[in-house]
């Protein structure tokens, strides 16, 4: 017995020491297990981090959100009043199974995104009427109407060509062994544990792939990811919490990259959704839904800066519009409303709620959202609001929100490169995500117009006007933009913090 104990202890001591860093393999920790690794079907954010290494796109964004060609040879030619988009492809590109990527395979891929059963790309490519292979390296998209956000869609999964051979072999199980164009290729996946990719022999720019293998480890717990980062068991930690980031920075051994994301966090206030978002709107009969003064008072009770300090150690980005500051469409002249408790109380009194007003706010059930909810609850209490918080699981909360069962809902949006993707669905009368059933034809007209014109200054002006209108309506009270914080050892070089927060291993290396 004693001998065995000694042996076990000896083994533990021997192997508990941090293993010598495997310099040829990069280990990245993710906080969530991605869903299916099929660009057509994928929905999760973390899935996109995997795609970033093995599925390149026609276009790519940089740190300033500018769009560059990736698998395309140049930016597209837009003709016919915006109805025709012509894309020249980069020559001599091969999929990771060695088959050539040409106009034909790109057409097949885009058609798969547009037409496959259960495709999650369908709505992103909805404006596309037809895809044509003009010659071996030219693809033409014919649009139903001019749609300026389309280019931005092609910088994400909708712009990922997939190998037609692999699709033919695997069909809707393509995601179990995906084949695209990329510096690395898929090796294996163990659900809830790891995803492994290795250097592709077919990639057109092999010098960019400095690692033989990348292992993605799934570690949902923040502490666990952090402990593994410190012990050297993982190299890159994604989504580090602000508190931990501050502490880690102080230690001085790791580099912290912090970038404002593309999305927003806000409070969605139900205005007219009584029986479901596809049903006709109805009167909810509550002052929160019917009296704009109550909603204004609520917004005036919120101190965005303080919220950011308390909940996020000041590392996120306060905001009051759906457009993140990095975007070229961001309106630099806008000032967010500050906290004004006196005015809030006055407005409440004018609305006949001088004695205080109570409502229920649903929050997604996790400790971070709960903290934000509790801070808001406390801020609002000082202005005469009595908010009860109801945590709901993500899955149920989305459905209940659609069904009109919420008064207020603390929910964010992960964000899109083009502002249209952050606004149109939520703020237009028939928007697919407009669960508050707020409806104003003037806002619709502005947002539709912004889809048609492609001039940046013109679009910025249109968005400014629309934002003025719907932020006064307050069906969504925007409060901050989430930041993406990534930590890695100081010897890791070449990391680019793009606002979509995805880790791009291409071009990075050990110093």
């Amino acid at each position: 017995m004693r001998k065995i104990t000694l042996v076990v202890l000896g083994l533990l001591v021997l192997f508990a020491a941090p293993a010598a860093a495997q310099k040829k393999t990069l280990v990245v920790a993710l906080n969530q297990d991605p869903d299916i690794l099929d660009p057509t079907l994928s929905r999760t954010y973390v899935g996109r981090i995997i795609f970033s290494q093995m599925c390149e796109k026609l276009y790519e964004i940089d740190e300033q959100l500018r769009i560059h060609p990736q698998l395309a040879a140049e930016l597209p030619q837009i003709t016919d009043g915006g109805r025709t988009v012509t894309i020249k492809l980069r020559p001599n590109v091969k999929f990771n199974d060695g088959t050539p990527m040409d106009a034909h395979s790109v057409k097949l891929s885009l058609d798969r995104h547009r037409e496959m059963k259960g495709s999650n790309r369908r709505s992103e490519l909805a404006p596309v009427e037809a895809v044509e292979a003009v010659d071996r390296l030219t693809v033409r998209l014919r649009l139903k109407a001019p749609f300026s956000p389309l280019l931005a869609q092609l910088t994400d999964r909708a712009g990922m060509p997939v190998s037609p051979d692999a699709v033919k072999k695997l069909g809707d199980k393509f995601g179990t062994a995906p084949v695209c164009v990329g510096p690395w290729q898929f090796v294996e996946r163990v659900a809830q544990d790891r995803i492994v990719v290795e250097r592709s022999p077919h990639y057109f720019d092999p010098a960019q792939a400095k690692f033989d293998r990348i292992i993605f480890r799934i570690m949902p717990d923040d502490n666990v990811r952090l402990a593994n980062l410190k012990s050297g068991d993982i190299d890159i930690m994604h989504q580090i919490s602000p508190t931990d980031a501050t502490a880690l920075k102080r230690e001085g051994k790791f580099e912290i990259s912090n970038v404002t994301g593309l999305g927003y966090q806000g409070i969605t206030i139900n205005l007219r959704n009584k029986t479901g978002k596809t049903q006709p709107p109805g009167d909810l009969g509550t002052p929160l839904a019917n009296d704009p003064r109550v909603r204004e008072a609520f917004e005036l009770a919120i101190d965005r800066e303080a919220l950011n300090q308390v909940a996020w150690d000041g590392l996120f980005t306060p905001g009051c519009t759906p457009i993140p500051p990095i975007s070229v469409f961001f309106d630099k002249s806008r000032k967010c409303p500050g906290r004004d408790v006196a005015k809030a109380k006055k407005l409440l009194a004018e609305a006949g709620q001088a004695g205080g007003y109570a409502f229920e706010m649903v929050i997604v059930n996790n400790p971070r959202e709960r903290r934000v909810g509790e801070v808001l609850q406390q801020m609002a209490r000082e202005a005469g609001f009595n908010i009860s918080l109801r945590p709901q699981e993500f899955a149920s909360s989305l459905k209940d929100n659609d069904d009109g069962k919420h008064q207020a809902f603390l929910i964010g949006w992960s964000g899109r490169v083009d502002p249209d993707g952050n606004i149109h669905h939520n703020q237009t009368c028939k928007g697919a995500l407009n669960a508050t059933l707020a409806c104003d034809e003037k806002i619709d007209a502005l947002l539709n117009k912004a889809r048609e014109v492609s001039d940046v200054d013109q679009r910025r002006a249109l968005y400014r006007e629309a934002i003025d209108m719907f932020t006064a309506r307050r069906n969504i009270v925007y409060i901050y933009h989430q930041n993406y914080i990534v930590a890695f050892p100081k010897s890791f070089k070449g990391y680019k913090a793009v606002p979509d927060g995805l880790i791009r291993v291409k071009g990075t290396s050990w110093n």
Partner: protein
Amino acid sequence: MFEFFVRRAFISVITLFVISLIVFAGVRAIPGDPARVMAGTEADEAGLQEIRDKYGLNDPLAIQYLRWVGLALIGDLGESIRTRQSVVATVAQKLPITIELTGLAILVALAIAIPAGVFAAVRRNTIWDMLASALSLGGVSIPNFWLGIMLILFVSVHLGWLPASGFVPWWEDPAGNLARMIMPAVVLGTALAAVLMRQTRNAMIEVLSADYIRTARAKGLTQRGVVFRHAIRNALLPVVTILGLQTGALMGGAVVTEQIFVVPGFGRLIVEAVFTRDYPLVQGVVLISASAYVLINLLVDVSYSLLNPRIRVRGAGEP
């Protein structure tokens, strides 16, 4: 004997049938539309219909149930909505990990419980005995998720002795696997150790006061000889039985333990499946775990009756 076995097996089949009904009804009762979850935030109504058709969510419940049970009987539990991997394959991937974890936990528990229990019985009513029973009560009372957090805090974060988690398959790196499994195994084994220790002590006391032990003593055997040659062996039978009965509790404990230490096993699979409304996965996983429990209990009953014939006479339905 044969009759007893048939009867016991028949009862198990009925229990399994009831279980399948409960599982099926329970999963349908969970609010939240799986089609909505799968389709993501931007799905339109047509897309939702397509998904519902594909997974047969539009069929009458009776049809859905019969289809599910029928396929389950031939070993097909469908495929996960989320990853499109087959449920059976997913479980086959996860189960060995949880079996390893519970196996280690049982080892940890036995390594603590048997020596401590025997010692407490031999030194009955001394300070050692009291210490052992205090420890045992402590083990039952400590919330294992808190124990896990505290272990991570001290052993991993402060001392940096063991990796906080991150599973490595044993065939890739046996030592790394052990280093990562030892804390979860300790956490999972604590409550079991406490139960087993008490059981061992009581069984030992009973055996030590039995006639044949007195005879052995009278014949001049030393205390050591009595304890090691005769008593332990006889005292272990009820302990082993209790161990069998604890499998269900161990599986439940594994859920929390795997959650804390991020062990990608069966327990985390269940929780994740519930939270993502992966109907086929939830149904399959819960059915499998419940069936395993029923089977293990059947085995325990049968083996116990083989070892202890008195049980048979009383019939299966009795406690």
